[in-house]
C-alpha cells in the first residue's frame, strides 16, 4: 500500500520535473530550436483543430496494426514449422540469419518499387518488420521446449498433430507473445521511416513535412504522439496478454525495445 501511495506522488513529480527541464531548455535555446510545452501545446491545438493530427495518427495506427497483425499471423506458423522440422530449420537458418540483419528501413525504396507508393508498400514493410521478430521468437520457444514434455505426451498416446496443438503451441505461447510485443516497436520504427520517404499522410509525414515550414512545435507534437501511440498499444497488448495468456506464463511486462 505504501509503495502504491508513493507512486501517486513520485510519478507526477517526475513528470513535473521533466516539463520544467523542457521549458528551461526552450528558454535557453529559443522556441525555434526547442519549442517549450506551451508552444507545443499551441501547435497541437492547431493540428487538432484542422483535423490533421487525428487523421495522421489514425492512418499510422491503421498501417501499423494491419501490417503487424498480418505479419504475426504469417510468422507464427512459419516459426513453428521451422522449429519442429529439423530439415527445414537446417536449410532456412543461414537465410534467416542473413536476412534478419537487414533493417526494414533499408527495404523502403525496394518495397516502393515492388508494391507501389500506396498502402500496400507500407503494410508490406510493417509485415517484414514484424515477421522476423515474431518468427525468431516462436522458433526460440519451440527449441527451448523440454523434450520430456513431448515424450510424456507421446507416451500418453498423443499424435504428432495433438502434440503440436496441445504441447508445442501452448508451451511456445509466451515466446510468441514476447515477439509480437517487441515487433510493435519495430513496426513503428518502420512506418515512420516509410511515411517520411513516401507518404502524404501519417505521423511520419507530419514530422517530415513540418520541417518545410520550420514548425519545430509540430515536430514535437508528432514525436509526443508517437510516444503516446506506442505506450498505449504496448499497454493494451500487454493487458490482453495478461488476461488471456496468464495460464501460459505470460505475466507482468515484457522487456521493451524503444521504437
Amino acid at each position: 500500500m505504501k509503495t502504491l501511495r508513493n507512486r501517486w506522488i513520485t510519478i507526477p513529480l517526475l513528470w513535473a520535473i521533466a516539463l520544467a527541464v523542457w521549458q528551461l531548455g526552450a528558454w535557453i535555446y529559443g522556441p525555434d530550436i526547442i519549442p517549450g510545452p506551451v508552444a507545443t501545446w499551441g501547435g497541437a491545438r492547431e493540428l487538432i483543430a484542422d483535423g490533421t493530427l487525428l487523421k495522421d495518427i489514425g492512418i499510422s495506427f491503421y498501417r501499423v496494426l494491419s501490417g503487424w497483425s498480418l505479419g504475426s499471423l504469417i510468422a507464427i506458423p512459419i516459426g513453428l514449422i521451422i522449429g519442429r522440422v529439423t530439415v527445414i530449420r537446417v536449410l532456412a537458418e543461414p537465410f534467416l540469419n542473413f536476412i534478419r540483419f537487414i533493417p526494414p528501413i533499408a527495404f523502403i525504396t525496394l518495397f516502393l518499387v515492388w508494391f507501389g507508393i500506396g498502402e500496400q508498400s507500407k503494410v508490406a514493410l510493417i509485415m517484414y518488420a514484424t515477421l522476423f521478430i515474431v518468427m525468431m521468437n516462436t522458433l526460440t520457444g519451440v527449441l527451448s521446449l523440454e523434450e520430456d514434455k513431448i515424450r510424456s505426451a507421446r507416451s500418453m498416446g498423443a499424435s504428432e498433430w495433438q502434440i503440436l496443438l496441445h504441447v508445442v503451441i501452448p508451451a511456445t505461447a509466451p515466446y510468441m507473445f514476447t515477439g509480437i510485443r517487441l515487433a510493435m516497436g519495430t513496426s513503428y520504427m518502420a512506418i515512420i521511416g516509410a511515411e517520411m520517404m513516401a507518404a502524404n499522410e501519417g505521423v511520419g509525414f507530419l514530422i517530415w513535412n513540418s520541417r518545410l515550414y520550420f514548425r519545430t512545435d509540430w515536430i514535437f507534437v508528432g514525436l509526443i504522439s508517437l510516444g503516446l501511440m506506442g505506450f498505449a498499444t504496448d499497454r493494451i497488448v500487454g493487458w490482453i496478454g495478461r488476461k488471456t495468456l496468464y495460464r501460459y506464463g505470460v505475466v507482468g511486462s515484457v522487456p521493451n525495445r524503444r521504437p
Partner: protein
C-alpha cells in the same frame, strides 16, 4: 535364457546393446552392452546403479524414446519401436514434464483427452487417481502452485489415469527432500499393490531400491554397462529399513559396489 509366457506386460530383453560411433576413428562405444532381462507382469523391478551407468538409457529404450542398436526388446511379445500408451513414464523432473499451463486435473486428464474420452468419464477417472495420490482439493491448482512432492504425485496420477500396463520411473524421487521421499516411497508401494502394474524403477539409492523392489538389478558403471547381478528381495511389504534382513541386504549390495570400485569398472 528361458522365457516367461509373454503376458501383455512382460518385458523381455535379450542381448540388448546401445552404441554410438565415437569420433573419426570409427570405433564403436557402448552405453549398454549385452543386457539380458525378463521382467514379469506385475513385478516391481528396480534398476540400481551409479550415475551415468546407462540405467536411464535402458529405461528410455523400453519407453521407446531411444532406439536400440542390437538385440531384442519386447513388451508383451511385441518388439518395442516407439512410445506407447501401455508404457507410462514418470520423469525425474516434474517441472520439465508436467504441462504448466494446465491445472492438476487437466494434466491428469491429458491422455484421456487425447484419446477423446467423453468429459464425464474423464472427470470420473481423474477424480479417482487424484484421490489415490492424495491431491484431493488441489484439482484446480497449477503445477507452479505445488511443492516438489505434489508435482510428482500429479505425474503419477497423470500416467495412472491412462491405465498403462507398465510404469517406467526414472529416479522420480531423486529431487525430493528426504522426508517427502520417504512418504512418496510408501505411497508408491501401496499404489503398486493396489493396481498391480509392472514397475521398472531406476534409482542410485540402495535403501530406496530395497524398500520398493521385488528384484533389484545392479548395473555396472559405464561405458559398456551391463546388468552385473540381480538380487531377490524376499521381505514382506511394508518394509522396515531398520530390520536385520533389510540392513543385511543393504550391506551386501553396498559391498558389491565397493568391491567394484576396488576391482575396476565392473563390480
Amino acid at each position: 535364457m528361458a522365457l516367461a509366457t509373454p503376458s501383455s506386460n512382460t518385458i523381455t530383453i535379450e542381448g540388448l546393446h546401445k552404441s554410438y560411433a565415437a569420433g573419426k576413428s570409427g570405433s564403436v562405444h557402448y552405453i549398454i552392452k549385452d543386457v539380458n532381462l525378463v521382467v514379469k507382469g506385475g513385478e516391481f523391478f528396480v534398476l540400481l546403479g551409479p550415475s551415468g551407468c546407462g540405467k536411464s538409457t535402458l529405461l528410455n529404450m523400453i519407453a521407446g524414446f531411444v532406439s536400440k542398436s542390437l538385440g531384442r526388446l519386447e513388451v508383451g511379445g511385441v518388439e518395442v519401436e516407439k512410445p506407447g500408451r501401455d508404457r507410462a513414464v514418470v520423469f525425474q523432473q516434474a517441472d520439465s514434464s508436467l504441462f504448466p499451463w494446465l491445472t492438476v486435473r487437466q494434466n491428469v486428464e491429458f491422455g484421456l483427452k487425447m484419446k477423446k474420452v467423453p468429459k464425464d468419464r474423464r472427470r470420473e477417472i481423474s477424480d479417482r487417481f487424484i484421490r489415490m495420490v492424495g491431491l484431493f482439493g488441489h484439482e484446480n491448482k497449477f503445477p507452479r502452485e505445488l511443492s516438489g512432492g505434489m508435482k510428482q504425485r500429479v505425474q503419477l496420477a497423470r500416467v495412472l489415469a491412462n491405465d498403462p500396463a507398465i510404469l517406467l520411473m526414472d529416479e522420480p524421487f531423486g529431487a525430493l527432500d528426504a522426508m517427502t521421499r520417504r512418504t512418496m516411497q510408501k505411497e508408491l508401494s501401496q499404489i503398486w499393490q493396489e493396481t498391480h502394474k509392472t514397475v521398472i524403477f531406476v534409482t542410485h539409492d540402495i535403501q530406496e531400491a530395497i524398500l520398493l523392489g521385488e528384484r533389484i538389478a545392479i548395473m555396472s558403471a559405464g561405458p559398456d554397462s551391463r546388468i552385473a547381478d540381480v538380487y531377490e528381495v524376499p521381505l514382506p511389504y511394508p518394509r522396515d529399513p531398520a530390520s536385520n534382513e533389510f540392513l543385511d541386504l543393504n550391506r551386501r549390495i553396498q559391498s558389491h559396489f565397493d568391491a567394484g570400485l576396488e576391482g575396476g569398472m565392473h563390480p
